[in-house]
Subunit: 299 residues, 2 copies
């Protein structure tokens, strides 16, 4: 990582929610010159202690309010549905100059609500990195290396708030990119939520059709195609529900492709089948990324 | 790998088709005591030369017939549709005691036809390992390490033929398992063909819905969910067509799961959504394999 030479600093940091993402941000900030003291808070005191033991935070606060009292930058990293309640809870305790950002998988609703609660000071964020195993135990300092970190300012968001959140993303090794909140939710419906949904469906289908005796012969295509079905189902439940419209649009498109290939297979229509697969193969190539340029972790 | 102590040997080996699988078998057999000379043949002389240069074979034959004249074990490893024509071509040149086996992704039709062409001496095989990038250039000696290698004898197959093919699988580091040919095709429809089909569909859907500008933000779930869409579409075309019945059955089951979750998302039915995802998550766990026990390669 290049040293930050702009003179901008992160200042004092509060991380609220010490799971995979919050913990990894804390670990990634260790020793960064621009970062001041990192105070952590988590509703689970056990999680808090683990984060302190791992060195993800410099100290623990007794409450979310206490954590943010002198913070220049507040990272909200609880489970998605706790984000807005947490913002409401800390609002009165926040310095008027603090930047507040979050890490939730959806941005449209959160951005609208945050603008109402804390006009100008909040910018939504979404690091495109993660793991199918969550929790502070899985946190690591290199989780965000070279990963995109989407920021979703609204018309209300102050420019210096966006700049500070961009600096945070860069300081943990990620690549900040600004995106409209509604467009964000549409894009991740296809690039993240649909893959998760298909992985769950493939796992369930295979368990229905393949007896115990043969489950251990599955090779790489099945393993990779179902990997994220190991993700916590109670997190994805919320994401699927709250991104209903965009996800159903993606699913429509996917199902219409499936209907085409089903027809071609049923008709043993070689030419059509070849065309469909060739076109899909080209589509895959259009997403090609160099393995040296990208993290191998999960969103 | 434990040394083979049963006294059985592979004898002289002919590998017909020097791509990823044939080449990797040759490389894996190097230095194994039970393996005699390995003669290779490929319709492409360039492939043959590459295989010789890599040390995957000890020598090259000028024709498939010439390669098998003195072979104790013949491995048919051409693209799937070339398997039976190749068996027909070598049949008259084969020693009457030779074992012939193949590596095709489908086993029912091949086993029936092979029984007609070469009664008793043929046993179908399917190593559950591979890569989305094929060709002799991708071959490697550890491709089959700890991978299942399915063998599909019929009522006609002689027991010593099966034993010899099992020895081949073990000698390259794989785990031989006997499976009925028709059941094999049903199992791989779900564990291999369906994941490939979904990967192609996800890649095509995403290219339709996500503009160029945002394609590089896709994280692990998309990358893994589409990895095998990089596979050669003209190979999968044949597999999907020829395994029509079993694949459509798997697809039926998958689509009925998709219909259920679509309904739950559309209804914002939290309870139903949670139940579906929890059940899928448990299904994934029933396929759990230890990363140290399994190869990370592709079928």
């Amino acid at each position: 990582l290049k040293p930050e030479t702009s003179g901008q600093t992160l200042g004092s940091i509060a991380i609220l929610g010490l799971g995979l993402i919050g913990g990894s941000v804390g670990l990634a900030l260790r020793g960064r010159n621009t970062a001041g003291a990192v105070v952590g808070w988590d509703p689970s005191t056990a999680n808090g202690r683990k984060a302190l033991d791992r060195g993800a935070v410099d100290s623990l606060a007794g409450s979310a309010q206490e954590a943010v009292t002198r913070a220049d930058l507040v990272l909200l990293s609880p489970p998605l549905p706790a984000t807005i309640p947490l913002l409401e809870a800390i609002c009165a305790a926040l310095p008027t100059t603090a930047t507040v950002t979050d890490v939730g998988s959806l941005k449209a609703a959160i951005s609208t609500e945050a603008d109402r609660i804390l006009p100008g000071q909040f910018v939504g964020g979404h690091p495109m990195a993660g793991s199918e195993t969550g929790g502070i135990e899985s946190s690591r300092p290199d989780l965000f290396l070279r990963a995109p970190w989407l920021l979703t300012p609204t018309g209300q968001t102050l420019p210096e708030i966006v700049r500070k959140a961009e600096l945070l993303a860069r300081e943990v090794g990620a690549r900040p990119r600004v995106c409209d909140p509604v467009e964000h939710d549409r894009i991740v419906a296809t690039l993240s939520h649909l893959p998760h949904l298909l992985a769950y469906g493939l796992a369930r289908t295979a368990a229905d059709l393949v007896s115990d005796e043969w489950r251990d012969i599955a090779a790489g295509s099945f393993r990779d195609g179902t990997r994220v079905a190991a993700s916590d189902p109670s997190l994805w439940n919320v994401v699927f529900r709250d991104n209903q419209e965009a996800l159903l649009t993606s699913l429509d498109r996917f199902e219409s492709w499936i209907a085409s290939i089903r027809q071609a297979i049923g008709d043993r229509d070689d030419e059509r089948l070849r065309d469909l697969l060739r076109s899909a193969h080209q589509a895959k190539a259009s997403f090609a990324v160099s393995p040296t340029e990208r993290n191998t972790t999960e969103d």
